[in-house]
Amino acid sequence: MTRTVHVQYFAALREQAGRSAETCETSAATPRDLYSDLRQRHGLALPEALLRVAINEEFCDWERPLADGDRVVFIPPVAGG
Protein backbone atom coordinates (compact mmCIF):
# COMPACT_ATOMS: atom_id res chain seq x y z
CA MET A 1 0.00 0.00 0.00
CA THR A 2 1.37 3.44 -0.85
CA ARG A 3 0.54 6.77 0.71
CA THR A 4 1.08 10.33 -0.39
CA VAL A 5 2.90 12.41 2.21
CA HIS A 6 4.25 15.94 2.15
CA VAL A 7 7.80 16.14 3.42
CA GLN A 8 9.58 19.25 4.58
CA TYR A 9 13.28 19.58 5.39
CA PHE A 10 14.98 22.08 7.65
CA ALA A 11 18.48 23.43 8.20
CA ALA A 12 21.33 21.10 7.22
CA LEU A 13 18.82 18.57 5.91
CA ARG A 14 17.42 21.04 3.44
CA GLU A 15 20.94 21.73 2.22
CA GLN A 16 21.70 18.05 1.80
CA ALA A 17 18.38 17.23 0.19
CA GLY A 18 18.73 20.21 -2.14
CA ARG A 19 15.09 21.15 -1.56
CA SER A 20 12.93 22.41 1.25
CA ALA A 21 9.87 20.30 0.51
CA GLU A 22 8.59 17.51 -1.66
CA THR A 23 5.56 15.29 -2.03
CA CYS A 24 6.32 11.57 -1.95
CA GLU A 25 4.48 8.44 -2.86
CA THR A 26 5.79 6.00 -0.28
CA SER A 27 5.20 2.49 0.93
CA ALA A 28 6.89 3.35 4.22
CA ALA A 29 4.67 2.63 7.20
CA THR A 30 6.47 4.87 9.69
CA PRO A 31 8.59 8.02 9.58
CA ARG A 32 11.59 5.82 10.42
CA ASP A 33 11.16 3.84 7.20
CA LEU A 34 10.39 6.99 5.25
CA TYR A 35 13.55 8.72 6.49
CA SER A 36 15.62 5.68 5.71
CA ASP A 37 14.35 5.73 2.07
CA LEU A 38 14.85 9.48 1.70
CA ARG A 39 18.27 9.25 3.26
CA GLN A 40 19.39 6.88 0.57
CA ARG A 41 17.67 8.77 -2.21
CA HIS A 42 19.15 12.17 -1.32
CA GLY A 43 22.37 11.10 0.38
CA LEU A 44 21.38 12.71 3.69
CA ALA A 45 24.27 12.60 6.15
CA LEU A 46 22.45 13.15 9.43
CA PRO A 47 21.52 9.97 11.31
CA GLU A 48 17.98 9.95 12.64
CA ALA A 49 19.30 9.92 16.21
CA LEU A 50 20.14 13.61 15.75
CA LEU A 51 16.76 14.54 14.29
CA ARG A 52 13.22 14.93 15.43
CA VAL A 53 10.24 14.15 13.31
CA ALA A 54 6.93 15.94 13.45
CA ILE A 55 3.71 14.96 11.75
CA ASN A 56 1.01 17.53 11.18
CA GLU A 57 2.79 20.14 13.31
CA GLU A 58 3.28 17.88 16.31
CA PHE A 59 6.47 16.13 17.39
CA CYS A 60 5.97 12.39 17.39
CA ASP A 61 8.02 9.23 17.72
CA TRP A 62 9.62 7.44 14.80
CA GLU A 63 7.18 4.53 14.94
CA ARG A 64 3.97 6.49 14.55
CA PRO A 65 2.01 5.05 11.62
CA LEU A 66 1.98 7.26 8.53
CA ALA A 67 -1.36 8.20 7.02
CA ASP A 68 -2.25 9.46 3.60
CA GLY A 69 -1.85 13.23 3.37
CA ASP A 70 0.40 13.57 6.45
CA ARG A 71 2.68 16.58 6.60
CA VAL A 72 6.01 15.17 7.75
CA VAL A 73 8.83 17.41 8.95
CA PHE A 74 12.38 16.27 9.60
CA ILE A 75 14.25 18.73 11.71
CA PRO A 76 17.75 18.85 13.20
CA PRO A 77 18.62 21.14 16.09
CA VAL A 78 20.44 24.31 15.06
CA ALA A 79 22.99 26.11 17.16
CA GLY A 80 24.06 29.31 15.39
CA GLY A 81 23.61 32.65 16.99
Binding site: R52, F59, P76, V78
Partner: protein
Protein backbone atom coordinates in the same frame (compact mmCIF):
# COMPACT_ATOMS: atom_id res chain seq x y z
CA UNK B 1 6.56 73.47 50.45
CA UNK B 2 7.51 72.47 46.91
CA UNK B 3 8.22 68.75 46.58
CA UNK B 4 11.70 69.32 45.14
CA UNK B 5 13.79 72.48 45.32
CA UNK B 6 17.35 73.70 45.04
CA UNK B 7 19.08 75.99 47.46
CA UNK B 8 22.25 78.01 47.08
CA UNK B 9 22.47 78.69 50.82
CA UNK B 10 22.94 76.48 53.88
CA UNK B 11 20.09 73.99 54.35
CA UNK B 12 18.09 74.32 57.59
CA UNK B 13 16.21 71.04 58.17
CA UNK B 14 14.12 72.44 61.08
CA UNK B 15 12.13 74.64 58.73
CA UNK B 16 11.60 71.81 56.25
CA UNK B 17 10.44 69.50 59.01
CA UNK B 18 7.68 71.88 60.03
CA UNK B 19 6.33 71.89 56.50
CA UNK B 20 5.77 68.14 56.69
CA UNK B 21 3.70 68.23 59.88
CA UNK B 22 0.28 66.75 59.36
CA UNK B 23 -2.37 65.80 61.93
CA UNK B 24 -2.77 62.38 60.23
CA UNK B 25 0.94 61.63 60.47
CA UNK B 26 2.22 59.47 63.30
CA UNK B 27 5.86 60.03 62.51
CA UNK B 28 8.50 61.52 60.31
CA UNK B 29 11.75 60.20 58.87
CA UNK B 30 14.48 62.23 57.27
CA UNK B 31 17.79 61.72 55.55
CA UNK B 32 20.69 64.14 55.36
CA UNK B 33 23.53 63.79 52.88
CA UNK B 34 26.77 65.46 54.03
CA UNK B 35 29.97 66.42 52.27
CA UNK B 36 32.69 63.99 53.37
CA UNK B 37 36.42 64.58 53.35
CA UNK B 38 37.44 61.70 51.11
CA UNK B 39 36.37 59.85 48.01
CA UNK B 40 37.97 56.92 46.28
CA UNK B 41 41.10 57.19 48.44
CA UNK B 42 41.63 60.91 47.85
CA UNK B 43 41.29 63.73 50.39
CA UNK B 44 38.47 66.06 49.41
CA UNK B 45 38.63 69.73 50.45
CA UNK B 46 35.37 71.03 49.06
CA UNK B 47 32.63 70.23 46.58
CA UNK B 48 30.76 71.98 43.84
CA UNK B 49 27.27 70.90 42.80
CA UNK B 50 25.81 71.85 39.48
CA UNK B 51 22.38 70.96 38.20
CA UNK B 52 20.36 71.15 35.06
CA UNK B 53 17.75 72.90 37.19
CA UNK B 54 14.59 73.03 35.10
CA UNK B 55 14.82 69.37 34.30
CA UNK B 56 16.03 68.37 37.75
CA UNK B 57 13.09 70.06 39.47
CA UNK B 58 10.66 68.33 37.16
CA UNK B 59 12.33 64.98 37.64
CA UNK B 60 12.77 65.43 41.42
CA UNK B 61 9.14 66.47 41.89
CA UNK B 62 8.02 63.42 39.96
CA UNK B 63 10.04 61.18 42.28
CA UNK B 64 8.60 62.77 45.44
CA UNK B 65 5.07 62.53 44.09
CA UNK B 66 5.70 58.92 43.16
CA UNK B 67 6.89 58.13 46.69
CA UNK B 68 3.78 59.73 48.23
CA UNK B 69 1.54 57.56 46.05
CA UNK B 70 3.64 54.42 46.23
CA UNK B 71 3.85 54.33 50.03
CA UNK B 72 0.58 56.10 50.79
CA UNK B 73 2.28 58.68 53.03
CA UNK B 74 1.09 62.13 54.12
CA UNK B 75 3.81 64.45 52.85
CA UNK B 76 7.35 64.38 51.51
CA UNK B 77 9.93 66.78 50.16
CA UNK B 78 13.53 66.98 49.04
CA UNK B 79 15.94 69.93 48.97
CA UNK B 80 19.31 69.81 47.22
CA UNK B 81 22.22 72.24 47.48
CA UNK B 82 23.96 73.70 44.46
CA UNK B 83 27.15 75.74 44.35
CA UNK B 84 30.17 75.54 46.64
CA UNK B 85 30.06 73.34 49.75
CA UNK B 86 32.63 72.76 52.47
CA UNK B 87 33.35 69.43 54.17
CA UNK B 88 30.63 68.68 56.73
CA UNK B 89 27.96 70.77 55.06
CA UNK B 90 24.51 69.46 54.31
CA UNK B 91 24.23 68.62 50.58
CA UNK B 92 20.78 67.09 50.40
CA UNK B 93 17.80 66.68 52.69
CA UNK B 94 14.82 64.34 52.33
CA UNK B 95 11.86 64.09 54.66
CA UNK B 96 8.67 62.06 54.75
CA UNK B 97 5.78 62.06 57.21
CA UNK B 98 3.35 59.18 57.41
CA UNK B 99 0.80 57.45 59.61
CA UNK B 100 3.28 54.67 60.41
CA UNK B 101 7.05 54.58 60.61
CA UNK B 102 7.61 51.82 58.03
CA UNK B 103 6.15 53.90 55.22
CA UNK B 104 8.03 57.00 56.37
CA UNK B 105 11.39 55.18 56.33
CA UNK B 106 10.65 53.45 53.04
CA UNK B 107 9.55 56.63 51.28
CA UNK B 108 12.58 58.53 52.54
CA UNK B 109 14.91 55.82 51.32
CA UNK B 110 13.12 55.60 47.99
CA UNK B 111 13.37 59.35 47.36
CA UNK B 112 17.08 59.69 48.11
CA UNK B 113 17.91 56.58 46.04
CA UNK B 114 15.88 57.75 43.07
CA UNK B 115 17.16 61.33 43.25
CA UNK B 116 20.76 60.16 43.28
CA UNK B 117 19.96 57.80 40.46
CA UNK B 118 17.87 59.91 38.11
CA UNK B 119 18.18 63.63 38.74
CA UNK B 120 20.72 65.50 36.60
CA UNK B 121 23.08 66.81 39.25
CA UNK B 122 26.87 66.77 38.92
CA UNK B 123 29.45 66.95 41.60
CA UNK B 124 32.91 68.43 41.21
CA UNK B 125 35.39 67.40 43.86
CA UNK B 126 38.32 69.62 44.83
CA UNK B 127 41.12 67.57 46.33
CA UNK B 128 43.74 68.54 48.88
CA UNK B 129 46.49 68.23 46.29
CA UNK B 130 44.89 71.07 44.32
CA UNK B 131 43.49 68.75 41.66
CA UNK B 132 39.79 68.55 40.91
CA UNK B 133 37.43 66.37 38.91
CA UNK B 134 33.79 65.94 38.01
CA UNK B 135 32.38 62.87 39.58
CA UNK B 136 29.83 60.86 37.69
CA UNK B 137 26.41 60.97 39.12
CA UNK B 138 25.53 57.71 40.79
CA UNK B 139 23.90 56.13 37.81
CA UNK B 140 26.95 56.54 35.62
CA UNK B 141 29.28 55.43 38.36
CA UNK B 142 27.17 52.44 39.21
CA UNK B 143 26.62 51.47 35.63
CA UNK B 144 30.26 51.90 34.82
CA UNK B 145 31.74 49.85 37.59
CA UNK B 146 30.73 49.26 41.14
CA UNK B 147 28.79 46.06 41.06
CA UNK B 148 30.82 43.06 42.01
CA UNK B 149 29.93 40.39 39.52
CA UNK B 150 31.51 37.14 38.66
CA UNK B 151 34.10 37.39 35.96
CA UNK B 152 33.38 41.07 35.45
CA UNK B 153 36.20 43.34 34.48
CA UNK B 154 36.82 46.68 36.14
CA UNK B 155 35.64 49.38 33.85
CA UNK B 156 35.28 53.11 34.00
CA UNK B 157 33.98 55.85 31.79
CA UNK B 158 37.02 57.13 30.00
CA UNK B 159 35.52 60.05 28.15
CA UNK B 160 33.76 63.11 29.50
CA UNK B 161 30.51 61.76 28.07
CA UNK B 162 29.28 60.02 31.17
CA UNK B 163 30.33 62.80 33.49
CA UNK B 164 29.01 65.81 31.68
CA UNK B 165 26.09 64.88 29.44
CA UNK B 166 22.83 65.86 31.10
CA UNK B 167 20.40 63.10 31.90
CA UNK B 168 17.50 63.86 29.66
CA UNK B 169 14.69 61.65 30.85
CA UNK B 170 14.10 58.68 28.58
CA UNK B 171 11.03 59.14 26.42
CA UNK B 172 8.88 56.01 26.38
CA UNK B 173 5.79 57.81 25.06
CA UNK B 174 5.48 55.70 21.92
CA UNK B 175 5.29 52.44 23.82
CA UNK B 176 3.36 53.85 26.78
CA UNK B 177 0.77 54.97 24.21
CA UNK B 178 -0.14 51.33 23.61
CA UNK B 179 -3.32 50.68 25.58
CA UNK B 180 -1.88 47.37 26.83
CA UNK B 181 1.31 49.03 28.08
CA UNK B 182 0.55 52.41 29.66
CA UNK B 183 2.35 53.66 32.77
CA UNK B 184 1.63 50.44 34.62
CA UNK B 185 3.24 48.38 31.88
CA UNK B 186 6.21 50.71 31.75
CA UNK B 187 6.65 50.23 35.50
CA UNK B 188 6.64 46.46 35.00
CA UNK B 189 9.35 46.82 32.37
CA UNK B 190 11.39 49.07 34.64
CA UNK B 191 11.10 46.65 37.54
CA UNK B 192 12.20 43.68 35.43
CA UNK B 193 15.65 42.17 35.20
CA UNK B 194 16.79 40.15 32.21
CA UNK B 195 19.89 38.05 31.69
CA UNK B 196 21.08 37.81 28.09
CA UNK B 197 23.51 34.95 27.61
CA UNK B 198 25.56 35.56 24.48
CA UNK B 199 26.18 39.02 22.99
CA UNK B 200 26.36 37.86 19.39
CA UNK B 201 24.01 37.93 16.41
CA UNK B 202 20.96 37.13 18.55
CA UNK B 203 22.06 39.11 21.58
CA UNK B 204 22.81 42.28 19.59
CA UNK B 205 19.22 43.16 18.69
CA UNK B 206 17.74 41.61 21.85
CA UNK B 207 19.96 43.71 24.12
CA UNK B 208 19.31 46.94 22.24
CA UNK B 209 15.53 46.58 22.19
CA UNK B 210 15.37 45.56 25.84
CA UNK B 211 17.54 48.46 26.95
CA UNK B 212 15.67 50.92 24.77
CA UNK B 213 12.37 49.69 26.22
CA UNK B 214 13.62 50.58 29.70
CA UNK B 215 14.21 47.16 31.29
CA UNK B 216 15.58 48.09 34.72
CA UNK B 217 18.51 45.71 34.92
CA UNK B 218 20.22 43.79 32.14
CA UNK B 219 23.01 41.24 32.60
CA UNK B 220 25.22 40.46 29.60
CA UNK B 221 27.17 37.20 29.67
CA UNK B 222 29.86 36.67 27.04
CA UNK B 223 33.46 35.60 27.40
CA UNK B 224 34.50 36.43 23.84
CA UNK B 225 36.05 39.51 22.33
CA UNK B 226 34.65 41.40 19.34
CA UNK B 227 36.06 40.11 16.04
CA UNK B 228 35.93 41.75 12.63
CA UNK B 229 33.91 38.81 11.28
CA UNK B 230 31.19 39.49 13.89
CA UNK B 231 30.21 42.97 12.73
CA UNK B 232 28.06 41.99 9.74
CA UNK B 233 25.52 40.40 12.10
CA UNK B 234 26.32 42.18 15.36
CA UNK B 235 25.93 45.89 14.55
CA UNK B 236 25.72 46.69 18.25
CA UNK B 237 29.53 46.89 17.89
CA UNK B 238 31.66 49.21 15.81
CA UNK B 239 35.08 48.82 14.26
CA UNK B 240 36.63 50.52 17.28
CA UNK B 241 35.29 47.71 19.49
CA UNK B 242 37.31 44.99 17.76
CA UNK B 243 39.34 43.19 20.42
CA UNK B 244 37.27 44.50 23.35
CA UNK B 245 35.29 42.07 25.51
CA UNK B 246 31.85 41.79 23.94
CA UNK B 247 30.02 42.08 27.26
CA UNK B 248 31.78 45.35 28.09
CA UNK B 249 31.40 46.86 24.61
CA UNK B 250 27.70 45.91 24.52
CA UNK B 251 27.14 47.37 28.00
CA UNK B 252 28.72 50.65 26.87
CA UNK B 253 26.41 50.81 23.89
CA UNK B 254 23.35 50.15 26.07
CA UNK B 255 24.31 52.88 28.52
CA UNK B 256 24.60 55.23 25.61
CA UNK B 257 21.13 54.20 24.49
CA UNK B 258 19.40 54.43 27.85
CA UNK B 259 20.88 55.51 31.13
CA UNK B 260 17.87 54.29 33.08
CA UNK B 261 19.17 50.77 32.56
CA UNK B 262 21.59 49.17 34.95
CA UNK B 263 23.92 47.09 32.81
CA UNK B 264 25.99 44.31 34.26
CA UNK B 265 28.78 43.08 32.00
CA UNK B 266 29.87 39.57 32.88
CA UNK B 267 33.01 38.72 30.89
CA UNK B 268 32.77 34.94 31.13
CA UNK B 269 31.26 32.02 29.31
CA UNK B 270 28.32 30.31 30.94
CA UNK B 271 29.70 27.24 32.70
CA UNK B 272 28.39 24.53 34.99
CA UNK B 273 30.04 26.42 37.85
CA UNK B 274 28.54 29.89 37.30
CA UNK B 275 25.25 29.23 35.54
CA UNK B 276 23.06 28.76 38.62
CA UNK B 277 24.28 31.97 40.21
CA UNK B 278 23.76 33.87 36.97
CA UNK B 279 20.29 32.55 36.22
CA UNK B 280 19.16 32.93 39.83
CA UNK B 281 19.93 36.65 39.77
CA UNK B 282 17.42 37.65 37.08
CA UNK B 283 13.68 37.39 36.37
CA UNK B 284 13.84 36.37 32.71
CA UNK B 285 16.57 34.62 30.73
CA UNK B 286 17.38 35.04 27.03
CA UNK B 287 19.55 32.29 25.60
CA UNK B 288 21.46 33.81 22.69
CA UNK B 289 24.59 31.68 22.41
CA UNK B 290 25.79 29.87 19.31
CA UNK B 291 26.33 26.42 20.75
CA UNK B 292 24.18 23.55 21.95
CA UNK B 293 26.35 22.91 24.95
CA UNK B 294 25.46 26.32 26.38
CA UNK B 295 21.83 25.95 25.37
CA UNK B 296 21.40 22.75 27.35
CA UNK B 297 23.39 24.18 30.26
CA UNK B 298 21.01 27.16 30.36
CA UNK B 299 18.00 24.90 29.89
CA UNK B 300 18.92 22.83 32.93
CA UNK B 301 19.61 25.92 35.02
CA UNK B 302 16.29 27.62 34.19
CA UNK B 303 14.45 24.38 34.94
CA UNK B 304 16.24 24.13 38.31
CA UNK B 305 15.68 27.80 39.16
CA UNK B 306 12.14 27.97 37.77
CA UNK B 307 12.85 30.92 35.48
CA UNK B 308 11.11 31.70 32.20
CA UNK B 309 13.55 31.53 29.30
CA UNK B 310 13.47 32.29 25.60
CA UNK B 311 15.84 30.31 23.38
CA UNK B 312 16.78 30.96 19.78
CA UNK B 313 19.28 29.69 17.26
CA UNK B 314 19.84 30.09 13.55
CA UNK B 315 21.16 28.14 10.62
CA UNK B 316 21.88 29.99 7.38
CA UNK B 317 18.46 31.41 6.44
CA UNK B 318 16.28 29.93 9.15
CA UNK B 319 15.89 30.01 12.87
CA UNK B 320 14.32 28.11 15.74
CA UNK B 321 12.61 29.63 18.76
CA UNK B 322 11.61 27.89 21.93
CA UNK B 323 10.05 29.32 25.05
CA UNK B 324 10.28 27.73 28.47
CA UNK B 325 7.88 28.68 31.23
CA UNK B 326 8.35 27.25 34.73
CA UNK B 327 5.21 25.19 34.86
CA UNK B 328 4.78 21.53 35.64
CA UNK B 329 3.42 20.71 32.20
CA UNK B 330 5.74 22.83 30.05
CA UNK B 331 8.25 21.09 27.71
CA UNK B 332 11.89 22.07 28.08
CA UNK B 333 14.68 21.88 25.50
CA UNK B 334 15.47 18.31 26.52
CA UNK B 335 11.85 17.30 26.04
CA UNK B 336 12.23 18.31 22.39
CA UNK B 337 15.82 17.04 21.94
CA UNK B 338 16.16 13.98 24.17
CA UNK B 339 19.37 12.87 22.49
CA UNK B 340 21.35 15.97 23.56
CA UNK B 341 23.04 16.46 20.21
CA UNK B 342 26.52 17.87 20.53
CA UNK B 343 28.10 20.79 18.77
CA UNK B 344 29.98 19.83 15.68
CA UNK B 345 27.14 17.47 14.72
CA UNK B 346 25.08 20.39 13.51
CA UNK B 347 26.37 23.57 11.92
CA UNK B 348 27.16 26.87 13.56
CA UNK B 349 27.60 30.29 11.96
CA UNK B 350 31.34 29.89 11.50
CA UNK B 351 30.94 26.66 9.55
CA UNK B 352 27.60 27.08 7.82
CA UNK B 353 27.58 30.81 7.14
CA UNK B 354 24.80 33.20 8.06
CA UNK B 355 23.21 36.37 6.73
CA UNK B 356 23.08 39.13 9.38
CA UNK B 357 19.33 39.81 9.41
CA UNK B 358 18.60 36.16 10.22
CA UNK B 359 19.92 36.23 13.81
CA UNK B 360 18.83 39.90 13.81
CA UNK B 361 15.22 38.87 13.29
CA UNK B 362 15.35 35.97 15.72
CA UNK B 363 17.02 38.08 18.44
CA UNK B 364 14.40 40.79 18.00
CA UNK B 365 11.73 38.09 18.37
CA UNK B 366 13.33 36.99 21.64
CA UNK B 367 13.18 40.58 22.93
CA UNK B 368 9.53 40.71 21.82
CA UNK B 369 8.74 37.49 23.67
CA UNK B 370 10.47 38.72 26.83
CA UNK B 371 8.58 42.04 26.82
CA UNK B 372 5.34 40.23 26.06
CA UNK B 373 5.94 37.98 29.03
CA UNK B 374 6.81 40.88 31.36
CA UNK B 375 3.74 42.82 30.24
CA UNK B 376 1.51 39.76 30.52
CA UNK B 377 0.26 40.15 26.97
CA UNK B 378 -1.47 37.10 25.54
CA UNK B 379 -1.44 34.68 23.91
CA UNK B 380 1.12 32.64 25.77
CA UNK B 381 4.10 31.36 23.77
CA UNK B 382 3.96 28.14 21.79
CA UNK B 383 4.89 24.92 23.56
CA UNK B 384 7.59 23.43 21.45
CA UNK B 385 9.48 24.78 18.51
CA UNK B 386 8.73 27.66 16.19
CA UNK B 387 10.70 27.45 12.97
CA UNK B 388 11.13 30.67 11.01
CA UNK B 389 12.26 30.60 7.39
CA UNK B 390 13.54 34.02 6.43
CA UNK B 391 13.65 33.26 2.70
CA UNK B 392 9.97 32.44 2.33
CA UNK B 393 8.97 34.49 5.40
CA UNK B 394 7.05 31.54 6.73
CA UNK B 395 6.80 30.32 10.28
CA UNK B 396 5.80 26.90 11.46
CA UNK B 397 4.94 26.01 15.01
CA UNK B 398 5.63 22.40 15.99
CA UNK B 399 3.97 21.42 19.22
CA UNK B 400 5.83 19.42 21.81
CA UNK B 401 4.58 17.95 25.04
CA UNK B 402 6.47 17.44 28.23
CA UNK B 403 8.35 14.17 27.83
CA UNK B 404 7.91 11.66 30.60
CA UNK B 405 11.29 10.71 32.00
CA UNK B 406 12.96 13.81 30.59
CA UNK B 407 16.21 14.66 32.33
CA UNK B 408 14.72 17.92 33.46
CA UNK B 409 12.90 15.95 36.09
CA UNK B 410 16.29 15.05 37.57
CA UNK B 411 18.41 17.98 36.44
CA UNK B 412 21.05 17.21 39.05
CA UNK B 413 21.98 14.19 37.00
CA UNK B 414 23.03 16.35 34.12
CA UNK B 415 24.81 18.78 36.37
CA UNK B 416 26.90 16.06 37.95
CA UNK B 417 28.00 14.81 34.55
CA UNK B 418 29.35 18.20 33.54
CA UNK B 419 31.40 18.91 36.64
CA UNK B 420 34.48 16.84 35.95
CA UNK B 421 36.48 18.85 33.37
CA UNK B 422 35.72 17.59 29.89
CA UNK B 423 38.57 19.25 28.09
CA UNK B 424 42.29 18.95 28.65
CA UNK B 425 45.14 20.72 26.87
CA UNK B 426 48.41 19.26 25.61
CA UNK B 427 51.27 20.67 23.59
CA UNK B 428 51.81 17.41 21.71
CA UNK B 429 50.28 13.97 21.33
CA UNK B 430 53.39 12.49 22.93
CA UNK B 431 52.72 14.55 26.02
CA UNK B 432 49.14 13.26 26.16
CA UNK B 433 50.33 9.67 25.87
CA UNK B 434 52.87 10.31 28.60
CA UNK B 435 50.03 11.57 30.81
CA UNK B 436 48.46 8.11 30.55
CA UNK B 437 45.81 8.75 27.90
CA UNK B 438 44.84 6.36 25.15
CA UNK B 439 44.28 8.51 22.09
CA UNK B 440 41.36 8.12 19.73
CA UNK B 441 40.93 10.04 16.48
CA UNK B 442 37.28 10.62 15.57
CA UNK B 443 37.85 12.53 12.33
CA UNK B 444 36.56 11.09 9.07
CA UNK B 445 38.96 9.02 6.98
CA UNK B 446 39.54 11.75 4.38
CA UNK B 447 40.71 14.15 7.06
CA UNK B 448 43.58 11.87 8.04
CA UNK B 449 45.23 11.74 4.67
CA UNK B 450 47.64 14.60 5.17
CA UNK B 451 48.58 14.00 8.79
CA UNK B 452 52.21 14.50 9.70
CA UNK B 453 53.85 11.63 11.61
CA UNK B 454 53.58 13.52 14.90
CA UNK B 455 49.81 13.75 14.39
CA UNK B 456 49.15 10.10 13.70
CA UNK B 457 46.79 8.33 16.02
CA UNK B 458 46.47 4.58 15.71
CA UNK B 459 42.94 4.17 17.01
CA UNK B 460 40.53 5.62 14.48
CA UNK B 461 36.80 5.69 15.24
CA UNK B 462 35.12 8.06 12.77
CA UNK B 463 32.42 10.15 14.39
CA UNK B 464 29.87 9.38 11.69
CA UNK B 465 30.16 5.67 12.41
CA UNK B 466 30.09 6.16 16.17
CA UNK B 467 26.89 8.16 15.91
CA UNK B 468 25.24 5.59 13.73
CA UNK B 469 26.18 2.84 16.15
CA UNK B 470 28.17 0.98 13.49
CA UNK B 471 31.19 0.97 15.76
CA UNK B 472 31.34 1.20 19.52
CA UNK B 473 33.57 3.22 21.77
CA UNK B 474 35.93 0.99 23.81
CA UNK B 475 34.29 0.05 27.07
CA UNK B 476 37.30 0.44 29.33
CA UNK B 477 40.24 2.81 29.47
CA UNK B 478 41.08 6.46 29.95
CA UNK B 479 40.60 8.06 26.54
CA UNK B 480 41.52 11.38 25.06
CA UNK B 481 39.29 12.09 22.06
CA UNK B 482 40.88 14.11 19.28
CA UNK B 483 39.49 15.85 16.21
CA UNK B 484 40.60 18.78 14.03
CA UNK B 485 39.53 21.71 16.21
CA UNK B 486 38.20 20.18 19.43
CA UNK B 487 34.53 20.80 18.71
CA UNK B 488 33.44 17.35 17.61
CA UNK B 489 35.63 15.64 20.20
CA UNK B 490 33.96 17.71 22.90
CA UNK B 491 30.54 16.65 21.61
CA UNK B 492 31.49 12.98 21.66
CA UNK B 493 33.10 13.23 25.10
CA UNK B 494 30.03 14.95 26.42
CA UNK B 495 27.77 12.33 24.89
CA UNK B 496 29.80 9.53 26.47
CA UNK B 497 29.76 11.28 29.83
CA UNK B 498 26.04 11.58 29.52
CA UNK B 499 25.91 7.84 28.97
CA UNK B 500 27.78 7.36 32.24
CA UNK B 501 31.43 7.18 31.10
CA UNK B 502 33.59 9.14 33.53
CA UNK B 503 37.05 8.65 32.04
CA UNK B 504 36.73 10.25 28.59
CA UNK B 505 38.14 13.64 27.73
CA UNK B 506 38.34 15.93 24.74
CA UNK B 507 41.58 17.50 23.58
CA UNK B 508 41.07 21.25 23.69
CA UNK B 509 41.56 22.92 20.33
CA UNK B 510 42.12 19.60 18.55
CA UNK B 511 45.08 18.93 16.30
CA UNK B 512 45.04 22.55 15.17
CA UNK B 513 46.20 23.56 18.66
CA UNK B 514 49.38 21.46 18.55
Amino acid sequence: MQPFTFSTGTLRPESFREALCDPAAGGYASFEGWVRDHNDGRRVRRLEYEAFEALAIKEGSRIVQQAIEKFGISRAACVHRVGDLAVGELAVWVGASAAHRQEAFAACRYIIDEVKHCVPIWKKEHYEDGDSGWVNCERCAEAADGRPHEGGVPHSHDGPRGATAPHLPQDYSRQVALPEVGQAGQARIRNASILVIGAGGLGAPALQYLAAAGVGRIGIVDGDGVEASNLHRQPIFGVADIGRPKAVAAADRLRDLNRDVRCEAIVADATAENIDALVGGYDVILECTDNLRAKFLVNDAVVRAGRPAFFASVYQYEGQLQAYLPRADWPCLRCVWPETPGDGMVGNCAEAGVLGPVPGTLGALQAMQALQFILGLGPEPARGLVVVDLLSLSTRSIRAARRAGCDHEVPAKHRASTQEPLEVSFASLAEARAAGFELVDIREAWERRFDRPAERIELHLPMSELLEGRIAFPERGRYLIVCAHGVRSLAIAERLRHQGRADVYSMRGGLAAL
